[in-house]
């Protein structure tokens, strides 16, 4: 009588395919078979692979997805190459014009006091690198009224009691390039600080009122 091979034993053999050091996981067996197939087709795969590599590197050079975070190049015109290297370009904020941005707020409390503060405040998380906070500050003080509304709500949540009023300003610290052209000892860089009013939070109506007209203080 011929000995039939049961499906069970077939399955056992497939699962228990021996590797060099004993039974191997079925996933690794499948990967091994895939690798063997690819190795057989290797002479045909070489040229297409190199063409793909060239296309990828040309796109990297023209639309530096990964490097945009390093060198401030925009991703606005590169949505089609949303490749693995695509990361946000927010690091370009401060390198664009050599300024540092942050938020300044004044909180008028119910007992008549007034509290000044900046966002982000590096003292809150001193272990973090300043650059992370500086990037956040440039983003927060940029032309994003929804973000500023959100920041106001975030700050309000940290307060023990709701304030009467809160004023929000965008601070931009610009350093004077001309004074740096001829540096000598004792001559530090001259800087300017600009404050733009972004809006007010009304504690009575609990609403955020963005500033409509230009309000600049130097």
């Amino acid at each position: 009588m011929a000995l039939g091979v049961s499906s069970y034993s077939d399955g056992r053999r497939r699962r228990a395919e021996p590797g060099p050091y004993g039974p191997r996981h079925p996933l690794l067996n499948a990967l091994g078979r895939l690798e063997a197939t690819l190795a057989h087709a290797w002479p045909l795969l070489r040229l297409p692979l190199t063409v793909l590599a060239v296309v990828h590197l040309v796109l990297v050079a023209l639309f530096p997805g990964g490097q945009n975070a390093l060198f401030g190049l925009t991703t606005q015109d590169t949505p089609t190459y949303a490749s693995l290297f695509q990361v946000p370009d927010t690091l370009g904020f401060y390198t664009a014009d050599g300024t540092d941005g942050f938020l300044v707020y004044k909180i008028y409390t119910q007992d008549g006091g007034m509290v000044n503060g900046v966002f982000p405040d590096t003292r809150v998380a001193p272990r973090l690198r300043y650059d992370r906070w500086a990037t956040a500050g440039n983003a927060a003080s940029g032309p994003y009224p929804e973000l500023q509304d959100y920041v106001v709500n975030y700050v309000l949540k940290q307060l023990p009691s709701p304030p009467l009023r809160m004023e929000l300003f965008a601070g931009h610290w610009t350093w004077d390039r001309n004074s740096l052209t001829f540096p000598w000892p004792g001559q530090g860089p001259d800087t300017t600080l600009e404050l733009h009013r972004l809006g007010n939070y009304n504690g009575l109506t609990r609403t955020w009122e963005p500033s409509g007209k230009e309000d600049k203080r130097k």
Binding site: G19, G22, P23, R24, H25, L28, L31, G32, E35, A36, A39, W42, L45, R46, L49, T50, H56, V60, G66, Q67, A69, L70, F71, G72, T75, T78, P79, A82, F85, Q86, V87, P88, T90, D100, F119, V124, A125, R127, L128, D131, R132, A134, T135, A139, A140, Y144, E146, L147, Y150, V151, Y154, K157, W175, R177, L180, T181, P183, P185, P189, T191
Partner: protein, 331 residues
């Protein structure tokens, strides 16, 4: 090369030889993997201190603004799948475990790909919290996910059949495919070649981006951000010698502009790599950007000839205390 081959045939052979140089760079891939995963683990560890403020739902930015800061079609992030502190920390710990597995050399293409997914998730969760090292890690992990890199200096690397040193209960997880007569995978040198070209492009872009007023005036070391915060050396002393700061500034720009050409010229490759180490260590210490610059040094290993790195691997292996950290039996 045979003389009777046609020009097209010779060009085709040269093209393939360029993209798939022999021998297979297993030791190089292992060192790239170890260096990248160590820096990845450091970045993840540092991020732990500010996880809630940076990534949770109740942070200081709203989804609409984050989309404005991150204008790509599909800002993928796994942190949008979870809600709550416990799940956020679970994801973060999982990312650290995956990075640890990559460091150990367990299923390295899979672990590198998972680490890449996590890094992209961190980047797109809060774009305003990104640093240069994040983008560079994404670059390195993308290439490491294309090829196994745990067969040398990995806990489940190939060992001699009569000398099994790996932990017995974990043997089925070994980062190894069926034994093949060739030396490694035929495509294992392709990602390294791509990384070399990518690095050249990176340096060129960096050099071109420095052709601005600050750098051309030789005053980049005077940036107030360096003066006020982050610098690990007394910049005031350095700035009291303007000629020296100008020399350093121009030297840095020239190095980055010409690296992409000179590193491919064999006689000056090692001098350029030595210069890269000096530049990155100096900039890392002076600017306070050590993780980024150490990762750049690690990635520069891609240009070291494979035979030299294999020698380094043979030197390192006996120094490792774990008995099952294996090297390839064919070495």
């Amino acid at each position: 090369m045979r003389p009777h081959q046609s020009l097209a045939r010779r060009a085709y052979s040269a093209w393939l030889t360029f993209w798939f140089p022999a021998p297979s760079p297993r030791g190089k891939l292992a060192l790239l993997r170890i260096g990248t995963s160590l820096i990845l683990l450091y970045v993840l560890f540092v991020r732990s201190f500010d996880l809630q403020d940076g990534l949770s739902r109740a942070i200081w930015s709203n989804p609409v603004t984050r989309q404005a800061l991150d204008p790509i079609g599909w800002p993928f992030t796994v942190f949008h799948w979870v809600d709550g502190t416990w799940w956020l920390w679970s994801m973060h710990v999982l990312a650290m475990l995956v990075a640890g597995a990559l460091l150990a050399g367990v299923l390295t293409p899979l672990m590198a790909a998972l680490s890449l997914v996590f890094q992209l998730s961190y980047a797109h969760s809060n774009p305003a919290m990104l640093l240069g090292v994040d983008g560079l890690l994404i670059l390195a992990l993308a290439y490491l996910s294309l090829v196994p890199s745990g067969r040398v200096l990995g806990v489940f690397g190939r060992v001699e059949p009569d000398y099994p040193q790996y932990p017995p209960y974990l043997a089925y997880l070994q980062d190894e495919l069926p034994p093949r007569p060739e030396q490694g995978l035929p495509w294992s040198s392709l990602p390294v070649r791509m990384l070399q070209l990518h690095l050249s492009i990176l340096y060129l872009h960096s050099g071109l981006s420095k052709l601005t007023t600050d750098w051309l005036a030789g005053t980049a070391l005077w940036h107030p951000r360096l003066v006020a915060l982050g610098a690990l050396v007394p910049l005031n002393t350095l700035q009291s010698v303007p000629y020296l700061t100008s020399l350093i500034t121009y030297g840095l720009v020239l190095f980055e502009l010409f690296y992409c050409v000179l590193v491919w010229v064999r006689p000056v490759r090692y001098p350029m790599l030595a210069l890269a180490v000096v530049v990155h260590l100096s900039v890392g210490i002076a600017w306070g950007l050590l993780p980024f610059n150490l990762l750049m040094i690690v990635l520069n290993l891609a240009f070291v000839p494979p035979a030299h790195l294999e020698s380094l691997v043979r030197f390192i292996r006996p120094l490792l205390v774990l008995p099952w950290v294996a090297n390839d039996a064919r070495d």
